[in-house]
Subunit: 211 residues, 2 copies
DNA sequence: TACCATATCATACAAACGTATGACTGTCAA
DNA sequence: TTGACAGTCATACGTTTGTATGATATGGTA
């Protein structure tokens, strides 16, 4: 794309629409956001969505991919680093939570889509497959070297990844429960440590807790 | 209510609307369900929602309460039983998951509302307050007798309750990951055991996992 | 019987929805 | 200079939305 018609701002119409769509779909979900909301926020013409993306749903999928792809790439990159399985899981959880604290899109939309009983949009299904696959691979490796407890790697992977997603999505609840400001970095550090510690304890191959 | 106008079916118009609203809001969320969808499923007149509930949003809140109240009462009842804190947490997690497997409404709607950045509907906010409060009380008790590890009881409570909610909501993903039928009772038992075990390990006061 | 409150029903209404249309504008290749 | 083309724009179309309205039916009460 070389020329942008009447566009006088620095960013292209298509990118402005995508950014507005990311924000609004994240905050309210697909059905609660109208095309007119999006073009108003992007300050572009109503017809621009149809022209550049074809339909509201196609724009939705484009917005999902633009959020899911960087997250999946980050997790894959962290998971591929060398080290003991438990430490790599720790790094994945911390990296994922740090990314999600800055980018609320993936957890918000993932939880909404999981809660629906419609088919998962392809970008979200791919994200889950990639993330859970990477985590399950680490878990299987840890089971072979004895550092991670027995159990279905896929199920353990769900337990692991559910924590950063849920804690991020339930951030309002967490901060209200803790009675502190949600943007306080000290509190974010405490939450991150708590999540990492909980995950490590829940999957490590320690003796069973006596009843 | 003693008399039901023209109603010839066994259940009242109001109850039929409530039941249809529970199903549809659970499956698709507030915005994706129209009043016409609800009255069609309930096989009542379009005007009946306004007449009996006042508005679509008031019907939504009524439907939420009718799902959240039994769940909160169940958790409170299990939490109040005698026993060691870790065992009571175990019973709460198992009881909650069993209830949620039969009643998908609370997790679906809770996750959707958490993902939104609008204020939580009062019935959902009350549900969270009651559930997390009951669990946090058990946790604080366990911290006093040394059976549960240190940490903010509210944060630990979020970790505990997030598991049954997330596993239930992500049931499609879990069953696909396990490659089995989602209604298989054996698999449900395995999932329940896995969740209970993960929760117990994540909060028990065992020595830290070495790095 | 007459009356009244309650409930159901078919419509109507304005607003908002996603999408389509055709005119217009500015840049490139020929 | 001109034709083609990609992008932007105002506007319109047909649906669907939540809610309102007024008529009608029904059983209790006087």
């Amino acid at each position: 794309m070389i020329w942008y018609g009447r566009m006088t701002d620095q960013s292209s119409t298509k990118e402005r629409i995508l950014a507005a769509a990311r924000d609004l779909f994240t905050q309210r979900g697909f059905e609660a956001v109208s095309v007119r909301d999006i073009v108003a926020r992007a300050r572009v013409n109503l017809g621009a969505v149809t022209y550049h993306f074809g339909s509201k749903e196609a724009l939705y999928h484009a917005a999902l991919s633009s959020m899911a792809d960087p997250f999946a790439a980050l997790v894959a990159q962290i998971a591929a680093r060398p080290g003991a399985p438990l430490d790599r899981l720790d790094a994945v959880v911390r990296g994922a939570l740090a990314h999600l604290l800055d980018n609320p899109g993936p957890p918000a939309i993932l939880l909404r889509e999981l809660a629906s009983d419609r088919p998962l949009p392809p970008p979200i299904a791919n994200l889950m497959r990639r993330n859970l696959g990477a985590v399950a691979t680490i878990i299987a490796e840890g089971q072979r070297d004895g550092s991670i407890r027995q159990g279905d790697p896929a199920l353990l992977a769900v337990t692991v990844m559910s924590q950063p997603f849920f804690v991020r999505a339930a951030r309002r609840v967490v901060t209200v429960a803790l009675g502190a400001d949600s943007s306080d970095p000290d509190q974010q550090a405490r939450i991150t440590d708590h999540v990492a510690e909980s995950v490590r304890r829940s999957v490590a191959n320690t003796p069973p807790v006596p009843s």
